[in-house]
């Protein structure tokens, strides 16, 4: 069984919103029609987005850290929004695990948005149907696109490669390895929704430089000059030690 999903690396996300704009651009131009966008340059801009980048402050000033946090539908393995739908418009695909809404069947009762603890579903207030991230289902299978572009628009747009895309059920896929080795986790595990999208935590990368690493071991007299040449074929310290 395939379960397509995103892995979002909070360690490298810089909060640039490129994934938000590319998502909106791709999906508002798609065959399902535009996503509403009222007063885009006015006082109270509002509209439907599949993806949002939020910002959190962790810790207490001055010891704080800013976490940029992109959030879209998590394509849960046990999606609570699907069984509550009275019409069957909301469904999870057997073939690849993407949770989708059939816009032609949706009656716009909003019950599924009540049943999503993540607030991932946003009703289109013009078309009056529920919308959410499709994982760019109209893009990832499009054989007219070059193979490396058959990825969600947000993944392609990310300038820091904070977004990875693949199959979480394939234990050797890029995203499974990232989840396994970089401490990937799910959001709100307390509700048993088993989100497919995972997040990679902040990881501190520190380089320790020891004092002896600042001094050349093969220069005991601290004389800065060109290294004296021995015989060309004689072994040197550089061959046998490394810093």
């Amino acid at each position: 069984m395939t379960q397509l999903a995103l892995v979002i690396d909070l360690n490298v996300c810089v909060g640039c919103h490129a994934c938000v704009t590319s998502c909106k651009e791709w999906n508002t131009s798609g065959p399902a029609g535009s996503m509403c966008d009222d007063n885009p340059y006015g006082k109270d801009p509002t509209g439907t987005f599949f993806n949002r980048v939020q910002t959190y402050e962790v810790g207490e000033f001055p010891l704080t850290e800013t976490v940029h946090f992109p959030k879209s539908c998590l394509h849960c393995e046990d999606p609570p929004c699907v069984p509550v739908c009275p019409t069957g418009a909301s469904y999870k695909r057997e073939s690849d695990g993407i949770v989708l809404v059939d816009y032609d069947k949706c009656i716009g009762c909003r019950y599924c948005s009540w049943a999503c603890p993540y607030g991932a579903r946003e009703i289109d207030e013009h078309q009056k149907v529920m919308k959410k991230c499709t994982l760019c289902v109209d893009r990832i299978y499009d054989e007219e696109l070059p193979e490396e572009e058959r990825k969600p628009a947000c993944v392609l747009a990310c300038p820091t490669s904070a977004r990875l895309f693949g199959d979480v059920h394939d234990s050797e896929s890029e995203i499974s390895v990232a989840i396994r080795e970089e401490g990937g986790y799910q959001l709100m595990p307390e509700w048993g929704t088993k989100p497919s999208n995972h997040y990679l935590p902040r990881r501190k990368i520190r380089k320790h430089i020891h004092k002896d690493e600042l001094e050349r071991a093969d220069n005991p007299l601290n004389k800065e000059q060109r290294k004296p040449h021995g015989p060309i074929d004689a072994p040197t310290l550089d061959d046998s030690t490394s810093w």
Binding site: F49, Q54, Y56, V58, P86, Y118
Partner: protein, 325 residues
């Protein structure tokens, strides 16, 4: 949650209709086993059934205002295997259909006694239709309540008390209306319905207060920490990713002051339980129609406040993601 008046009217109106039907059926079953004088008028059951049907139709019409695409509403019957909303969509017409047959049988006086016991208890066809109607009515209460009670992360709703309150509050309002209506067509049953109204109203008071007490000490499972998965005692949102708000900021908050929210609780406790009980008591003592109808109207207004509070009180975990612009 942001209370939608379409849903408030849907749930309160069908509650009255279901309760009124239960009252009619209770009257008929008591007479069938000779606990009440049998000679209650035909109008009581037929016109009473018609009024109950009108309340159900009113609720149905109100529900359409909640839909983005009411013309596709018929599709909502499809997923009855998994969705309580879909089950409600099936149960509502079932109740309406049985109620229509029940009222029509009484109006046309089409009834056959199938069986009479030695003590004189009679089992008639209309009583069987009534039993089916009663089962459908309770099924409808169950569906309506479960729509809210089944969402486990709306912790204020995720309790059997939700179903019990929907059932008892709907039944109470229907019995109060039956009491007022009995002044026209069945004055002999005034005390019977009046006392039952007070009993059901006070039982509903106990269960509703129980749910208020439960929700007062609720411990939320989700927090900013579980929402973004950062294990630190201090996690604060500084931007929600948009400036003008969205469905997420509009649909999941009641947007009223804390004072207004708190006062609605006391308003409904007085209007649904205290005032109607006193009015019914006074009304059946004096057989005063005005008092009894005001009891119903006051209680119905109180139920609108109660339903508003029910929705407004539910705190959706998605709000954790939408704290600051």
């Amino acid at each position: 949650m942001n209370p939608a008046f379409s849903v408030i009217f849907l749930t309160t109106l069908i509650g009255v209709g279901q309760g009124l039907f239960l009252a009619l059926f209770t009257g008929q079953s008591y007479s069938a086993v000779k606990l009440l004088p049998a000679a209650t008028s035909v109008e009581f059951y037929s016109i009473g059934g018609l009024i109950a049907l009108l309340f159900l139709v009113g609720g149905l019409i109100a529900s359409f205002f909640h839909l983005g695409h009411p013309e596709r509403a018929w599709r909502a019957a499809a997923m009855w295997r998994t969705s309580w909303l879909s089950r409600e969509v099936l149960a509502l017409p079932a109740v309406m259909g049985l109620l229509f047959i029940y009222a029509l049988m009484h109006y046309m006086e089409w009834d056959i006694v199938l069986f009479t016991s030695e003590a004189g208890a009679e089992l008639s066809v209309s009583l069987i239709v009534g039993i089916l109607g009663m089962l459908a009515t309770f099924a409808l209460f169950l569906c309506t309540g479960m729509i809210y009670a089944c969402i486990k992360f709306l912790q204020e709703w995720h309790t059997p008390l939700t179903v019990i309150n929907y059932t008892l509050l709907g039944t109470a309002s229907g019995f109060v209306l039956a009491t007022a209506f009995a002044t026209y067509t069945a004055p002999g049953l005034l005390k019977f319905f009046g006392i039952w109204s007070i009993i059901i109203t006070l039982t509903a008071l106990i269960t509703r207060v129980a749910s208020l007490l439960r929700n007062r000490n609720i411990k939320y499972k989700s927090s900013a920490q579980t929402a973004i998965g950062v294990r630190h005692t201090k996690v604060k949102q500084i931007a929600m990713g948009m400036m003008g708000g969205s469905v997420n900021t509009r649909d999941f908050n009641h947007h009223m002051s804390a004072l207004f929210f708190k006062s609605i609780k006391w308003v409904f406790l007085v209007l649904v339980f205290v005032v109607p009980s006193i009015l019914i008591w006074a009304g059946i003592e004096e057989a005063n129609r005005t008092l009894l109808f005001s009891a119903f109207i006051v209680q119905y207004i109180g139920l609108i406040a109660e339903r508003w509070f029910f929705f407004a009180q539910a705190n959706h975990p998605q709000n954790i993601y939408y704290q600051t612009v």
